[in-house]
Symmetry: none
Subunit: 251 residues, 2 copies
DNA sequence: GATATAAATATGTCCGGACAAATTCTAGAG
DNA sequence: CTCTAGAATTTGTCCGGACATATTTATATC
């Protein structure tokens, strides 16, 4: 329990990140148009009373998101006003990410405490063997008897009241919804990869073992981007899922 | 050929990049085992007679590749000894989407005229049996001999000069770059799905037949969103690609 | 040997400065 | 009006310093 890394408990954010996030927020709020320039390093130094170094780190932080591009002699130009993989095309709200499509429901199959193996420990950024709350279940569409995915949710112990909700199968859904309230969420890291469907899961999903599947892993961070709220890992048989999006070029 | 991005032609390299590349080369050459530590900042300063700032930039450059992880109080630890999938983040520039990552190149294997079967005809929204220009090839990383993907490009006949460029293997790259000039592109429809790697492709990619793979299909439309410029279908062995993104909630 | 504490080490944040390189702006000439 | 050259601006590279924070190592005690 005490093995949870203290970095997960950090409260304060470095200056450069705070300013960077502020700039990101402004861009996403439409305050800076595409092709417009962000404040220069010099302007940021004046506005926030920081060194040029910190201003550069802040802009670097923003650039890392892909929203802007920095150009020597020119400035920092806005390239996008939405995050590259915005959820809107696929799913509308955070709550829909995992659990509730318009017409699906999540059927919890298991709710327990587990000790994380090496892979999961790495995913959650804790030590192997750490205790963790685990909830697993399938996602079902009402018109179709075959589940569309199996999801495992891993919740690092926070020692708070939400933990208790997770531990009880009957309240686990509520706990997930509560934990994933969009007011709590600052960032989601998502990973999509292909894999083969393990036999145990194949059976539960009514699909063929070792057939192609898509694995989506999402790590949900809080507003300060330090606290890992939970990790959700969902496996979709290939025929039941494809990730579609429409992209518009920068110009 | 002259259209290759000018950044590929840079002669001088900043110190931090030179040292970073050297470290990368050492890792890829097996000189640093997984979990081992790279030279500390201090050691790099001594070894290369550089400031701490430059040492940090060098290590930052290496960290960006995903090969290592820096940890305060600990050092810089090797996490991989081969390059992770280079298409880690959604790539900003249209020209990079398919052909040119920062450090990859596209090696054309075939260029011919085909008659579309039913699946492809549907994809290109034409009649089965329609003639179509086809270019196929693999994508290679300089540090790694294994191809990372196989791409098939289908170009509906436009009866224009670009068509002729497509038909010649030696000018096909140029044709793709020209057709995908971002001034021409109005929309891209993208589809990501899991599949099994067909035997023929598996062999060309140095991977196992029927192993998990990711298929990305992209349809490129012109500015008026009416003309389908081309369709690109790329298959990535699972271990060589995962699609990562960072999402920020609407707020 | 196990445990606790202190010291040392290594990276992270932030400050300041200087010069280089790329881009933009301005003024002058034709 | 267009073009060119020079100046100004903006980011990039690199130097130095200081303090903070996290991890590892060393030492003392039981």
């Amino acid at each position: 329990m005490t093995k949870i890394k203290s970095s997960l408990k950090n409260k304060s954010m470095p200056k450069y990140q705070r300013i960077g996030e502020k700039l990101i927020g402004q861009i996403l709020a439409g305050k800076h148009e595409i092709d417009s320039l962000l404040p220069t390093e010099k302007q940021l130094c004046t506005a926030y009373k920081i060194s040029r170094h910190t201003a550069r780190e802040a802009l670097r932080y923003v650039e890392k998101t892909g929203l802007v591009e920095r150009r020597q002699g020119s400035g920092t130009q806005v390239k996008r006003t939405s995050m590259p993989e915005q959820i809107n095309e696929f799913i509308n709200s955070i709550n829909d990410l995992l659990l509730f499509g318009k017409r699906t429901r999540f059927d919890i199959r298991i709710s327990d405490m587990i000790q994380l193996d090496a892979d999961l420990a790495e995913l959650l950024d804790v030590e192997t063997g750490t205790d963790c709350i685990h909830v697993g279940g399938i996602r079902i569409e009402p018109h179709d008897k075959k589940p569309i995915s199996y999801s495992n949710i891993y919740r690092p112990q926070h020692m708070d009241s939400v933990d208790e909700l997770f531990k009880d199968k009957d309240t686990a859904i509520y706990a997930v919804v509560k934990a994933l309230d969009s007011n709590n969420i600052g960032k989601i890291e998502q990973q999509i990869e292909a894999c083969l469907l393990p036999a145990g899961l194949a059976e539960q999903l009514g699909a063929e073992a070792n057939s192609a599947a898509m694995k989506i892993t999402r790590r949900y961070f809080d507003k300060e981007l330090k606290d890992l709220i939970l990790v959700a890992q969902s496996i979709y048989p290939a025929k039941r899922f494809s990730h579609s999006s429409v992209l518009y070029p920068d110009s």
